[in-house]
C-alpha cells in the first residue's frame, strides 16, 4: 500500500477549477517529483495534501488514514512536514526559535535536542547563525532553515515546494544534495519543482502536471528521455 495516496483530487478557487481530478501515489522511501509549468497546480496539490486547502472532491490517504478533512495543524503530528514555497520562515524570530517552531507539536525535550543537533550537523550555517533573526539570512540560508524547521517535527514524509526557487546555482546544487541525503536517511520526499532537470535527476518517479491534470507519469530516468518532456520542460 502506498504511503501517500491522492485520489481523484479536485480543488476549486471560487468557481475556477484548479485541480481537475488528479491521482497519484507516493511509496515509502521514494522521492517523487511533481513537475510542470507555473500555474499547473503543483503548489495547490501540496496545500491540499497538508490541509491548507480543502478539496471539492477526491481524497488524500496517508498511511492508511483518510486525512482529506483533517485540519492543517493536525497533519504535522501524523508525520508529515511541508516546506512551503517561498520558504516562509518567521522573519522576526531567531533561527533557533524558527527551528523550535518546527517542533511545536513535540513534547519529548531530550529527543528534540537530539534532532536539533542533527539538523545543526546537516546545516552548520544554521548553528552559526542560531541567534540571528531569520529575516537577515540569505535566500539559500532561509531555504535551509525552512527545511531544518520541517525536519524538526521528525517527519516520515516531507513535502517540498520549489526549494530551489530564486537561489544561486551553488545553493541549488547544495539544496538538491540535501534532499538526496534526507531521502537516503529514510524520509520519503514529495518534491514540487520548476527545475525539472534537477528534480528528475534525484527522483525515483515523477508526474507531469499541466493545467490541473497529470498528463504523464513514470520512472524519472525514462521521463528524462521522453521527447515531449525534453521539449517542454528540459529546454532541449
Amino acid at each position: 500500500m502506498a504511503m501517500l495516496s491522492v485520489k481523484d483530487l479536485e480543488v476549486h478557487y471560487g468557481v475556477i477549477k484548479a485541480i481537475k481530478g488528479v491521482s497519484f501515489d507516493v511509496n515509502e522511501g521514494e522521492v517523487i517529483a511533481l513537475i510542470g509549468a507555473n500555474g499547473a497546480g503543483k503548489t495547490t496539490i501540496l496545500h491540499t495534501i497538508s490541509g491548507l486547502l480543502k478539496p471539492t472532491a477526491g481524497s488524500v490517504m496517508f498511511e492508511g488514514q483518510d486525512i482529506t478533512k483533517v485540519p492543517a495543524h493536525k497533519i504535522v503530528s501524523l508525520g508529515m512536514a511541508h516546506v512551503p514555497e517561498g520558504r516562509r520562515v518567521f522573519s522576526q524570530l531567531s533561527v533557533l526559535q524558527n527551528l523550535k517552531m518546527g517542533a511545536y507539536t513535540r513534547n519529548d525535550k531530550a529527543e528534540m535536542e537530539e534532532t536539533l543537533q542533527m539538523i545543526y550537523k546537516r546545516f552548520p550555517r544554521l548553528e552559526e547563525r542560531k541567534n540571528q533573526t531569520a529575516g537577515t539570512l540569505s535566500g539559500g540560508e532561509q531555504q535551509m532553515l525552512a527545511m531544518g524547521r520541517a525536519l524538526m517535527s521528525h517527519p516520515r514524509i516531507i513535502l517540498m515546494d520549489e526549494p530551489s526557487m530564486g537561489l544561486s546555482p551553488i545553493f541549488v546544487e547544495e539544496i538538491f544534495n540535501i534532499i538526496r541525503d534526507i531521502s537516503a536517511e529514510g524520509t520519503t520526499v514529495l518534491l514540487v519543482e520548476q527545475n525539472a532537470k534537477k528534480a528528475l535527476q534525484i527522483a525515483n518517479r515523477a508526474y507531469v502536471l499541466e493545467t490541473g491534470n497529470i498528463i504523464l507519469s513514470g520512472d524519472a530516468k525514462e521521463l528524462m528521455n521522453d521527447e515531449s518532456v525534453k521539449k517542454a520542460y528540459l529546454g532541449e
Binding site: 491548507l52 485540519p71 504535522v76 516562509r88 518567521f90 522576526q92 524570530l93 517552531m101 518546527g102
Partner: protein, 294 residues
Amino acid sequence: MSSFLSYLITGISLGSVYAIIALGYTMVYGIAKMLNFAHGDVIMVGSYIAFLAVGAMGLPPILAVILAVVVCTTLGITIEKIAYKPLRTASPLAVLITAIGVSYFLQNMALLIFGANTKMFTSLISIDAINIGDGTVVVTGETLVTILACIFIMVCLTLFINKTKAGQAMLAVSEDKGAAELMGINVNGTISLTFAIGSALAAIAGVLLCSAYPTLTPYTGSMPGIKAFVAAVFGGIGSIPGAFIGGILLGVIENMSKAYISSQLSDAIVFSVLIIVLLVKPTGILGKKIHEKV
C-alpha cells in the same frame, strides 16, 4: 514643582489604564489583523460586572475583579467566535464594520440591562494614599495600584510571549498564519487565546478606570477605548512595548494639557499629537516596517 510631579504621576496612572487597554487592541491587531472596536465596550461590561459584584452581590473586591475578568474573557471569546471568525477571509472593511456593530450592540445591551443612569462606582482599592517628600505630593491608592498593575501586566505578558510555547505560537501566527498552521499551531485557538487575554486585560482596565474616575454609564468604555486605540497606533500597532509606551505618553500628555493648557482642549491636543507623530513616523514610535513580499 510639586504640582508638576503630581500631574505627572496622575498622568502616568491614566496612561497605565490606556496602556492596559491598548495591549488588547495591539495584540488582536497583530494576530488577527483586525481592529476590534468593541474592545472599549468590553471595559464597560467589566466595570458593570465588578460594580454589581460588589454592590448587589456583596463580594469582596478581589473576587469582584476575578468575576469581571472571567465574564469579559468569556465575552471576548464569544464575540470572536460569533462575529469575527465567520469573516476570517472577508474584506477588512467588513470586519471593521462588524466590530463597530458589536460595539453598539454591547452599549445598547448595557443600556437595556442597566439603564442610562450614571452609576456611582465605589473604588475597589482600599490602599491609603501616600505622601512623597514633605507631603506636598499625594499619590492615591488608586494611582499607585494602577501603575503597579500596568507594570506587572507588562512583565507577565513579555515573559508569556517570549518564554512559553503559546506565546511563541502567537508570534508565529502574527507573522504568517499559513506557515504557523504547517508547524502544527492551531491558528483559530491562538486567535481565541489572544481575544481572551485582551478581554481579561480590558476587565482589569475597567475596574482600575472606574476606581479612579467613579462614574459608570453604558458609554464609559468608548472614549478610553478610542484613546487606547490612539495609544496603540501612537506606539506602533502590533507592538506590545509600543502599546505600553504609547499609553503612558498619551496619559501624560492628556493630563499635562489639562493642567497647563486647557481641560476642554486636552482631547484635541491628544489627537493632534497623534496626527503629528503619524506624519513624521507613519508606523508609530516602535512600529515595524512592513516587509513587502517580493
